[in-house]
């Protein structure tokens, strides 16, 4: 266990006088204690085989029953699950914490595939509000449009919408990448803290309002900048990184990336990690 109390190596932020307090507290020690194995065990995770494929018709199931069924199929080792007739139901496919190929043949309602950690999800239809909220890792591809609060509080992974998205895309985003092939609504990147958003189309008003950190790339017109958001010059590493991401997302093949607008936070809050301002991160 790392002894945080006696760690003499100051971070750059600490040497600048920012958050110089010594971190103590039982919660942190307990959380990172490797001896307590239960803290590292994910309940409801399974070893699945991608070659084991099954169809699941959820037309007559409510979201609880459908999610339970998905869990049951994963426990039986099914690694590719095709959901038929989702019919805009809410909260389908949430809380999947292991690798899985999850395919929805249709559209989802609100809170679809939220709090996931690892699966690859493909949705052939549209998604409602708050799709992939709190996603930790994995890849989600939506073929049509998405509602508001797309990728709210996303912490990692790739979230891709090939159509247009509603307002507040990437609100409270803490990591990962959100890619939108079409337009995005107002307040895109609202209170964003980390991660990156790529919008190939136009965005609405108040882009990046109250953002702490993170980067937003916009291909089209910007309605207006929110407070705390400023334009920053595009670098070669930005272009390379976007090119790679778009290739993975299978969109924007002929898109002129160099003409995109890069938007970053205009000010850093005192208690936020100043060690890695997004502009200096370079291509990952």
């Amino acid at each position: 266990m790392a002894n945080i109390k006696t760690n003499e190596n100051k971070t750059k932020a600490q040497s600048m006088g920012l958050h110089s307090e010594v971190l103590t507290g039982k919660t942190q020690q307990k959380f990172f204690n490797p001896d307590e194995a239960e803290n590292f065990y994910y309940w409801g995770t399974y070893d699945v085989d991608f070659n084991k494929r099954i169809d699941l018709d959820v037309n007559d199931l409510d979201c609880k029953e459908a999610n339970k069924k998905i869990d049951e199929l994963m426990s039986q080792g099914y690694g590719t699950i095709v959901i038929k007739n989702p019919q805009g139901k809410h909260s389908l496919g949430v809380g999947v914490l292991n690798k899985l190929n999850l395919i929805f043949e249709g559209s989802l309602g609100y809170f679809g595939v939220g709090s996931i950690d690892g699966p690859t999800v493909r949705i052939n239809g549209r998604v409602g509000w708050s799709c992939a909220e709190n996603m930790m890792a994995g890849k989600v591809v939506i073929e049509k449009n998405a509602g508001s609060c797309f990728g709210a509080a996303v912490r990692g992974g790739d979230l891709i919408c090939k159509g247009s998205v509603g307002a507040r895309t990437g609100i409270d985003q803490k990591g990962g990448t959100i890619i939108v092939g079409g337009d995005a609504g107002a307040f895109t990147g609202f209170m964003m803290q980390r991660g990156r958003i790529i919008i190939l189309g136009n965005v609405g008003i108040n882009l990046g309002d109250s953002m702490y950190d993170g980067t937003i790339y916009v291909g089209g017109k910007i309605g207006s900048f929110g407070s705390d958001a400023i334009e920053s010059p595009m670098t070669k590493s930005d272009v390379d990184w976007i090119k790679r991401k778009l290739k993975v997302a299978e969109i924007g093949e002929d898109f002129d990336i160099s003409k995109m607008t890069k938007v970053v936070a205009g000010k850093k809050l005192w208690n936020y990690d100043a060690l890695e301002p997004t502009e200096k991160k370079g291509a990952i």
């Binding site: 609100y110 239809g125 449009n145 998205v165 509603g166 307002a167 337009d183 107002a186 307040f187």
Partner: protein, 313 residues
């Protein structure tokens, strides 16, 4: 949180009563307290349909009181006398519940003056007047209200409806949606959201002679639009103006005899999903409402902030 739904068939009629019921039933989790329908039915268009209530269906938190049925009957007699004195010719009358009626009548004079006089009778409220508008609202979910008022057989071109979760006012009919766009025939409004400059606008509009029947903030939208239209604005102009005139968060639908419109506030804070095709436009707070009448795969989208759209039948 409330649920709103609407649909407009272009160039044909359909069973809008049942279709709207399916949409509102799918939104029941957004509003279990009361349900309202504004159906634009295939009436002959010759006579006015007036729906009114002479008492309340009192639910939780309502400022109204339960009354005896005999009181309702006395009020109904007063309405009949008033109609006679105003020169309105009642062709058909139906008692729908102990407290609500549907009259088919002929009347050629100013509806504002007419409504004021009818509503001067204690506890009498006109729910709607129109040549095709049938506005029904009561406590219960969409199925219960449909059954109570026998709406399953209503055919028409378009409709809007509302499933209400009471927040700022009690559970009763007067606070339920849709609201009639008094004093315009065939205008109705449903709303999801909160308006924060309600009292300022209400005082201003009351000074201009407009009438409010409830303390529900959503009623303001109907009155606001009606006042704009009274001063010569088109429906679309009035709706566009409302984006800056009304403060708060809202998505609302407004319907007239031959059109249906939607407006979304500049914060885009309230949900709306739209489906547009050549012969049908359907909209609702959630996709699940649209799916209830269109089970096949469709393309839908969320309108952006500050959008106003109007469709004609």
């Amino acid at each position: 949180m409330c649920g709103i739904a609407g649909l407009i068939h272009r160039g044909k009629s359909s069973n809008v009563g049942n279709e709207l019921q399916a949409m509102l039933q799918a939104l029941k989790h957004r509003g279990p307290d009361s349900t309202g329908y504004a159906l634009y039915a295939d009436n002959d268009g010759q006579n006015f349909i007036m729906r009114f209530k002479v008492g309340e269906n009192v639910g939780e938190g309502s400022s109204s009181i339960n009354e005896d049925e005999s009181v309702y009957d006395k009020r109904k007699e007063l309405v009949d006398q008033m109609l006679k004195s105003l020169g309105a010719k009642v062709l058909k009358e139906e008692k729908l519940t102990p407290y609500s009626y549907r009259y088919e009548m002929q009347y050629d004079e100013d509806l504002m003056d007419f409504s004021k006089k009818i509503e001067s009778i204690e506890s009498v409220e006109i729910l709607s007047i129109g040549k095709s508008l049938e506005l029904i609202k009561d406590l219960g979910d969409a199925q219960e209200v449909l059954d109570r008022y026998d709406l399953g057989k209503v055919r028409g071109t378009h409709a809007i409806g509302h499933a209400r979760m009471a927040t700022e006012s009690g559970v009763d009919i007067k606070s339920a949606h849709p609201f009639w766009g008094y004093p315009f025939s065939d205008v109705s409004v449903v709303h999801n959201g909160q308006l924060t400059n309600y009292w300022n606008n209400r005082r201003m509009l009351e000074n201009k002679g407009m009438r409010f029947m409830s303390e529900c903030d959503s009623e303001l939208i109907a009155v606001y639009l009606a006042e704009k239209m009274r001063n010569g604005a088109t429906l679309e102009e009035g709706m566009k103006d409302s984006l800056s005139g009304l403060d708060g968060v809202f998505t609302y639908f407004v319907a007239t005899k031959d059109s249906l419109g939607m407006a979304k506030d500049t914060m885009a804070a309230k949900p709306l999903v739209l489906y547009e095709s050549d012969d049908l436009v359907a909209m609702g707070s959630e996709e699940i409402a649209i799916r209830s009448i269109l089970p096949h795969e469709i393309d839908t989208y969320d309108p952006f902030d500050g959008e106003v759209k109007v469709w004609q039948i």
